[in-house]
């Protein structure tokens, strides 16, 4: 079993003169070596507050945070000096935290070595974001915390950041990130936490197994009847997409559906984005009711 690098137990954060405004409640999480945890949620849900507490930037008003190892934090506004060059930024943060002396390899891996003498303020937003990742890596951390790492970044740069995060995981570093861009989370996260109004509303372990999304070329009633007759657990509320719980393997379920006479147009895993939308709908329904 991998070592625990960060543990938060029942952490809460309140703001205001009388601590009346709750930003985070009963937030508990355990982060192990080589693990990537993603926090998702609406704006103002409490993601950044949770990350800042993990990074020791904010003190919690309740609960306990235990960190084993070094943490580096990449804030949403990137945390780099605009009037220092790429190289000077990386070197400064490396020096103050006694991090990597070989920062050139980090810059090369992120494909920004060519801009090492360029002022950070002269870089594009995507390049600045990559620089902020390089700054985090230069500190040789055990835990890296990213607040919106894909915000304003083009696809190529995002993929480079994703590759870097995968590399960190391989080297047993733990990564925590928050993101509005859920499309990259599927491929890097081991666990996703959905936050709403400062509370954890869903924990999702990845990869998602057992839940399939199927699109049929058939009428609603026919699909409903056949699935019922097959004894499957399913949710047809999103027709023509139907979520089916696959107790058996993907191939078994697929052949079962084909032999049932229904024409299958699409057969795939449920995505985080779909679960997230479902969670948000549930939350909205709860709030309304």
């Amino acid at each position: 079993m991998n070592d625990v690098l960060l543990e938060m137990t029942s952490v809460g954060k309140r703001y205001g003169i009388r601590n009346t405004k709750k930003a985070l409640e009963e937030f508990s999480v355990t982060l192990q070596e080589g693990m990537c945890l993603a926090l998702i949620g609406r704006n103002g849900a409490g993601k950044s507050t949770a990350l800042k507490i993990m990074a020791n930037v904010l003190k919690p008003t309740e609960g306990r945070v235990v960190v084993h190892g070094r943490v580096s934090y990449v804030p949403e506004n990137m945390g780099i000096y605009p009037n220092l060059t790429v190289e000077e930024n990386v070197k400064f943060f490396s020096d103050i935290s006694e991090g990597h002396s070989d920062y050139e390899s980090i810059l090369s891996r992120l494909n920004i070595m060519g801009s090492s003498k360029v002022l950070a303020s002269h870089l594009s937003k995507g390049m600045r974001r990559k620089l902020s990742v390089a700054v985090a890596m230069a500190q040789n951390p055990d835990v890296v915390i990213f607040d919106e790492p894909f915000d304003g970044v083009d696809q190529t740069s995002s993929e480079e950041i994703v590759a870097m995060i995968r590399d960190m995981k391989k080297h047993n570093k733990a990564v925590v990130l928050s993101s509005h861009n859920i499309s990259y989370i599927d491929s890097i996260a081991d666990e996703v936490i959905v936050i709403d109004s400062g509370r954890i509303v869903r924990r999702i372990k990845l990869p998602l197994e057992g839940m399939k999304v199927v699109r049929f070329a058939a009428a609603y009633e026919e699909v409903d009847e056949v699935l019922k007759s097959l004894g499957l657990k399913y949710d047809i509320s999103g027709f023509p997409y139907v979520r089916i719980s696959a107790g058996s393997t993907q191939e078994d379920l697929n052949s079962m559906l084909v032999h049932s006479g229904l024409r299958v147009l699409e057969f795939r895993d449920l995505t985080i984005a779909e679960i997230y939308r479902g969670v948000l709908n549930d939350v909205s329904v709860t709030v309304q009711s």
Binding site: S72, P75, N77, G79, Y81, I96, S97, L119, Q139
Partner: protein
Amino acid sequence: MTLALQFRAEIKKQFILMKRSTAAPMMVLATFLLAMVSTAELAWNTPIYMTIPLQFSLATFSGSFVSFFILFMVYPSLSISEEKENGTYDVIRSSTHDTTGLDVARLIFNIIFAGVLTVTAVAGFIFMLLIRYGMLSNHVEIVVDHLIYNYIFGYSGLPSVFLTHTKTYIDEGFSLGLFMMDIAILFISILPPVLVGLIFSRISMKRSTSVISSVIFYLVIFNIYPYLISVNDALSVKYLYAGISVLFPGSPLSLADTYLGFTTVRISGGGFFSLPNQYFPAWILWALLSYVIIILLILYFMPSIGGVMDWRKK
């Protein structure tokens, strides 16, 4: 080992940032101009108090007020507040548990820079005094005073309700040792305002808050105490004020002079110009220009308020 590394890295970073920023040369320029403006008022009024145009009084007020406030408080405030805005402050706090090395380096850098500004201000005083007294006097002793009350309550030389009035001494003997001592007093007096500036920037999240806090602090220190003295005439308050006056030069130095015998700048006349007074109207324009520069400087450092920085980038 870590502390030494942190110290070295921070000092190096601060010097690189100072070299690259437009802030540092603008600060030096503004300090020079404002020191001249502050001195100009005294020079203009001395030895005979004269009627001064309203614009000039406004400009000299800004010079007296803003120069010291910029000199001692704003620059250190800006540096940390800027870090808070660009997120580097949080990155540093998350990656290093002990920031003593960084804090000490920052303090020392700010003292060095404030020292540079002090020398610049003294150069501004000297330059103006040479122009004014060049051929009139071989020796000048001058005491900086709080100007605004002179304009509001009259500058006849009589004590106002705030007990402050312009004081100048002419034809005092000049000695290099005395002159160096005055500069040393100015330099030592930098420490508390730099610390206060750093404290404000620690507390506030934005540069604008930091600057506003510094202004409020300035107003309270320099105006409430004289008021208390004048209203209550309490001896303990007088001594306290005298102590503060020594630590915070500028407006209350005349009181410090009264109680403790300190003066600010003594300078020997030189004789750059044979007819100094003919140049004086030009300095009124300089004064107004300085006022405009200071406004732009403050806007430049507070893009959230003035938007000048954004406009410049576009």
